[in-house]
Amino acid sequence: MKARLMQGNEACAEGAIAAGVRFFAGYPITPSTEIAETMARMLPLCGGKFLQMEDEIASMGAILGASLAGVKSMDATSGPGFSLKQELIGYGAVAEIPCVLVNVQRVGPSTGQPTAPSQGDVMQVRWGTHGDHPIIALSPWSVRETYDATVMAVNYSERFRTPVILLMDEIVGHLRERVELPDSVEIYPRRQPKKTRAEGYQPYEPDEDLVPNIADFGKGYHIHVTGLIHDETGFPVGSPEVTEKSIRRLHEKIARVGEEIIHTYEYCMEDAEYAVVAFGGTARTAYETVRRMREQGKKVGMLRLMTIWPFADAAIKRVAKKVKGIVVAELNYGQIVHEVRRAAEGRCEVALCGKYNMKAFEPEEIEEAVKAMMEGGANK
C-alpha cells in the first residue's frame, strides 16, 4: 500500500476497523479524541456504528453490550475516563466479554495536564478495577505499530474473551509519521459454541484452552451473563469452590500461553553491558540515546516492552543476567521500574529515569541516567 502520513490515533481507528471492529462507543477526551472522530467518520461507511455516549461509563457499558450481541467493539479514552470505566473493565473480565479499550495516557492524577504526555497509568491498567483478574495491555511506539497493536488487541480480546487495553501515550497518539499499512490483516473470529442446547451446552464451560465459547445473544441459546461469580452454567453461585475455580481459570487462560503474547524487542543488546528498558513513545527517545552512546563506544542496549501486561519477566531476567545495570525510562514517578526490579531479582542494578513535568524525554536525559549508573558502578 502507498505510504502516507498518518497520526497514531488515526492508525488506531484504522487498525480497529481492519480487525473487524464494527461498534465504537466513546466520550470525548484529550488526547484520545481523534480515535472517536475517525471512528465516527469511518464506521457508518463500512457497516459499523458509532455512538457518542453521555459519559465514559456508558460508553464502556455500550461496547460490552454490543460485543455480547456478536459485534466486535472498541472504546477509547484517557486517564479520567479510564478511571471511570474501571468497574466495567472488571465486569468484562469476569463475564468474559471481548472488547478493546484504548487509553491514550496524559498527565494525572485527576484532570492533571490534559494535553501533556505521560505514562502514569501503567499500574492502573493492571490493578485499577477491584478484585483479581488478568489483563492484557499493549503499548505501541510508532504509528505503524499502533495499527498492528490495535489489530492484535482485537484478536487477543476475541481469543481470550477478555478486555484488552491498548495503552498508548500522547507522544504516539498525536504523532504523525510515514506509514505503509498492510492490505489485509489476520482476524481472530468470534468463538462459537461447539455444542447445541440439546447436547448440554454450558456457556461458561471452558474449552481446551480454558476459554469458554459463549454464544452471542440472539442465537437461541438463552444464556445468562452476570458480573456475579458464576459456574459453567453462567448463573451465580455462592460456593467457595466455584469462586476459587472461576478466579483461577480467568488467570490461567492467559497465563498458560506464557511468552506467546509477551512481545519485547531488543536493540544493540548482543554485547551490551547496560540496558535501557522503555516502552511507548519513550522508547523512541531511548533508542536515540542508545545510538548516540554506541557512537561514543559505550556498550549500551535497549529492551523495549510492547506487551506491558502480562509483564515480560523472562525478558527482564535474560537481560539482567547479562548486563551490569538497567535504567528504566518512563514518563512517571516510577511504576514499571518496580516490576523490572522484581523480575531482575537482584541480578543487576536497576535504576529509574523518571520524568513527570509535561515534557517527553530528551535523549541526553536518558544518557545522563545511564552514565550515572556506569560511573556509580565503577565506584563499587
Binding site: K49, I57, L68, G218, H222, H224
Partner: protein, 279 residues
Amino acid sequence: MSEEIKRSYEKYFREHRLPHLWCPGCGNGIAMKAIVMAIEKHPELNKDNTVIISGIGCSSRASGYMDFDTLHTAHGRALPFATGIKLARPDLKVIVITGDGDCTAIGGNHFIHTCRRNHDLTVILFNNNIYGMTGGQTSPMTPKGKKATTTPYGAIAQPLDPSALAKAAGATFVGRSTAYHVQHLASVIEQGLNNHGFAFVEAIVQCPTSYGRKNKLGSPADMMKWMRDNAVMKAAWDKMSDEEKTGEKFPIGVFLDTRAEEYGDMYSKLIDRIGGKNQ
C-alpha cells in the same frame, strides 16, 4: 379455562432457577409475571428474539429467572448495555428491568440520555421506593417523610418522578401501574412493547420487608390495598380537580404513547445518506 392454560406464561421462566430469592410478599414476582404475560400476548416475540437486561438490586435479579438471553449488568448500567445490544442487533427486542435506585440514582444520567436518543427499548422500573437488596436505604423515589435506614427521621427531599422525566427527555411511551393491578400492568407493558421507541413503564411494587416494616405499612396485602385505594386510572385522574388529588393518590395508565424516529432507524438512514453499508 383450565389451570394449565392460564399459567402458560410459565414457559418463559427458567424453572430450575426457581424459587426466586425475593422475600415472601414481595411485589417483584408479580411485575416479572406481568412482563412475560405481555411478551406472550405479543405476536412476534419469542425466547429467541427477545433479550432481558437488568441492573443491580432486587428488581434486577428477575433476568436470571427468565428463559431468554439475559444480562445482569452492573449497578445503574443496564441502559448503556441495552443500547449497545440494540444497535448491534436491531432485530432483537430488548427489555430492560431496573429499580428505583438503579434507574433514577446511579443510572439517572443514562436514563435521561437513553430517552433522549430514543432507542427502541422497553424499560420496566420496579419501584419499591427503597434499596431492598442492601437492607432498606433511601432511594430517589422514597416519598417525603418516609423512613429508611439512611433516612431514620424520614426523607426530607422530594422524590423524583421518572415518568415526567422520561416524557421531558424524549421517551415515546410512558405508563404506570401497580402490582395490585396485575392485568392492567401487563396491558401497559404490552402497549410499551408495541411502541417502537423508548418505552418506560413504572411498576409500583410492595417491599414489605424493608419499606413496609420501616414505615408501618402492614402486611403485603395491606400494601397492595394501599395501591388499590390510591391508584386512579388516568381517564378519571384527568377529570379530577386539584383539590381531589389529595393525600397519596396517584394516576396509573398510559401517560404518553407517541411516535418519534428511533435512533437505530435514524442511524440506518444516515448510513444510506452517506452511501455507507448497512449491516
